[in-house]
């Protein structure tokens, strides 16, 4: 019993980790319809910032806002050039542009941060354990579940229940109509991209304690994030959350019972979901007629 409870907590923390990788991408891809493959780079940049910040001796908790702001800044620069010209372009062009940029960033980060695997020096507070029915469970994972969960909640509220969120969602469907409401859609898209980059960075800083930071993490995270968001269905933030939970639980329990086939089972599950729901878990059926 205790074993299962702890495994559920593990599944939950892994789901939140997946969610953290997917948050920003969900915003740009699913709500703004912009395929941003530099997302993995933002995540890794955030991880590096988090690691460096915690190593510098500054207050540890400031690492998260720092990662948020700094990667957001990079996002703002990118939005100015060259993302802006590419919002109306086809996905294929966006893919090539952002993939190229992600290769450039990967190299720049390897240059700047070195090639070694780095782990954040977490404060003692986060290194502790609590006992869950006799099993030790890391405080850090609870922290991850709490912060990731509340972050998702805030974002969900912002997107589904505020005017800004409504405007962003409407913007994807029809820019013209949003313009007539007197909203500057270009600024709106900028806000979306910057926020997505910042969220990617924040996710990286939070996740570094579990994933560490090293060259190549950007690509791994990108793949995970892409799968989470697409399986969840475009245009729905709830779908992303649901899909992160589904993938997190399937992976965790597959690793528990059939560790050798964990990857295969997870992939198979995703293929199945996309075969049964061709528009993702909560994707709206695109009306053709």
């Amino acid at each position: 019993m205790a074993y299962i409870v702890v495994q559920i907590l593990n599944a939950l923390s892994f789901s939140v980790l997946l969610l953290l990788t997917g948050l920003g991408l969900s915003l740009v891809l699913s709500l703004m319809n912009f395929v941003n493959l530099t997302h993995g780079s933002f995540f890794l940049l955030g991880s590096y910032i988090g690691v460096q910040w915690m190593a510098s001796g500054a207050p540890w908790w400031m690492a998260f806002p720092a990662a948020f702001v700094l990667t957001g800044l990079v996002g703002a620069l990118l939005d100015r050039y060259p993302f802006r010209q590419f919002y109306p372009r086809t996905h294929l062009m966006q893919v090539l542009l952002t993939y190229g940029l992600s290769v450039v960033f990967a190299d720049l980060m390897r240059w700047g941060f070195g090639a070694d695997t780095l782990s954040p020096m977490l404060p003692d507070l986060l290194q502790g354990v609590v006992f869950v029915m006799g099993f030790p469970f890391p405080v850090y994972r609870l922290f991850l579940i709490a912060t990731g969960g509340s972050l998702a909640l805030v974002l969900w509220w912002a997107i589904e229940h505020t005017l800004w969120g409504a405007a962003i969602r409407a913007c994807v469907i029809d820019r013209g109509i949003v313009e007539t409401l007197g909203i500057n859609t270009r600024r709106l898209l900028t806000v979306g991209v910057v926020l997505a980059a910042a969220l990617g960075g924040l996710g990286g800083a939070l996740g570094a304690g579990m994933l560490s930071a090293y060259p190549g993490l950007d690509e791994e995270v990108l793949l995970l994030a892409l799968l989470v968001v697409v399986v969840g269905g475009l245009g729905s933030f709830t779908g992303t959350v649901l899909s992160a939970l589904l993938i997190g639980f399937v992976t965790t329990f597959a690793r528990m019972w059939l560790p050798e086939f964990a990857n295969f089972l997870t992939l198979g599950m995703m293929a199945l979901v996309l075969m049964v729901c061709p528009n993702g878990l909560l994707g709206r059926e695109t009306r053709q007629l």
Binding site: R89, H91, L92
Partner: protein, 325 residues
């Protein structure tokens, strides 16, 4: 998101028609191949053969992406599965081209057909991710079925290629075979895209709904396209392990598929010749830049970014426009 939005907005004219001056490029290519065959050393010939084989796979991907609007991230797996199929078969039944080719073609078509069936109802980004997932499942099989595929280490040391019993492992012979395959595949794909079915495939890309109203079965069209492109990629894949003298799981990995897509876009998605131009540019840059600077990945990345900003339709259409106007 219909597949149309993926492609059509590039404004690429894929309407097949006679283009003036096409033969001039063909002559140039023939001249280049001739010079290589006469003056090229072993290394250059083998490298050229590799470019031709990868280029053939990219050319088939161009039909899938550019003509049918199906942006697949699983084409590398199709190519790689065929390569593995041939390499494994050669260990049991010898490595004659007359056997390798059908084995590769069948492997390629089988995996392509599986992708077509799995992605039957998908389009756009979902199609992309589904093909990626199926490709990754193939990778898992290759990576973990160590007794047969060699696992992470891949396969090497299989017999050298022969053609009807004659040895064909010399780089010049490999180059000639790759060239022959490239020409034959080019001809086959050109026939395909110019035939009624090729037009139907383009119609499916641009107006899937209208095509249904015209009585075309989109699933069948998609399956046909997958089979044809899978066969071509499979044929290229069947020779690849003998040119490279090695085949490993990376050839099936999604990053290989992504590389093929990038080559495709570099050359021009809606052209057949673009496949070779893209493959050549990418492979030459990848191999040569790294001798010059540690920051070669940065340069490669910049190459993609600059291409998409300045020649968004790819190099071949850009050249064509420049030399016809």
């Amino acid at each position: 998101m219909t597949s149309r939005a993926w492609i059509s907005a590039t404004g690429v004219d894929t309407a097949p028609g006679r283009r003036a001056g096409g033969w001039r490029w063909l002559c140039l290519a023939a001249l280049l191949c001739g010079v290589l065959a006469v003056f090229g050393d072993d290394y250059q010939l083998r490298f050229a053969a590799e470019i031709l084989l990868v280029g053939t796979a990219v050319m088939s991907l161009n039909v899938l992406v550019g003509f049918a609007g199906l942006v697949s991230l699983g084409h590398g797996a199709v190519f790689g599965a065929a390569a593995y199929g041939a390499a494994i078969a050669s260990q049991h039944w010898g490595s004659d081209l007359l056997l390798m080719l059908p084995v590769g073609v069948l492997c390629g078509m089988a995996l392509a057909a599986l992708m077509a069936l799995v992605s039957y109802r998908s389009s756009g980004l979902f199609f992309l991710v589904l093909t990626l997932v199926v490709g990754q499942m193939a990778w898992e099989v290759v990576f973990r079925w160590r007794e047969v595929t060699g696992g992470a280490d891949g396969l090497r040391g299989y017999p050298a290629l022969t053609v009807a019993g004659l040895p064909a492992s010399h780089p010049l012979a490999l180059f000639a075979l790759a060239l022959a395959l490239a020409v034959a595949s080019g001809w086959a794909l050109r026939t395909f895209v110019r035939a009624p079915v090729g037009h139907a495939v383009q119609g499916m890309r641009d107006q899937p709904l209208r095509m249904r109203a015209l009585g075309f079965h989109l699933g069948r069209l998609r399956l046909q396209t997958f089979l044809v492109t899978g066969a071509v990629a499979g044929a290229a894949g069947s020779i690849y392990p003998f040119v490279n003298q090695y085949i490993g799981p990376n050839a099936v990995h999604w990053s290989m598929s992504a590389t093929l897509v990038i080559m495709s876009v570099l050359g021009g998605i809606a052209t057949l010749a673009g496949g070779f131009v893209g493959a050549a540019l990418y492979l030459v840059a990848q191999t040569q830049l790294s001798s010059w600077t540690d920051r070669w990945q940065l340069l490669i990345g910049m190459l993609f970014v600059l291409t998409v900003i300045f020649v968004p339709h790819g190099i071949v259409p850009a050249l064509r426009r420049r030399f016809t106007s």
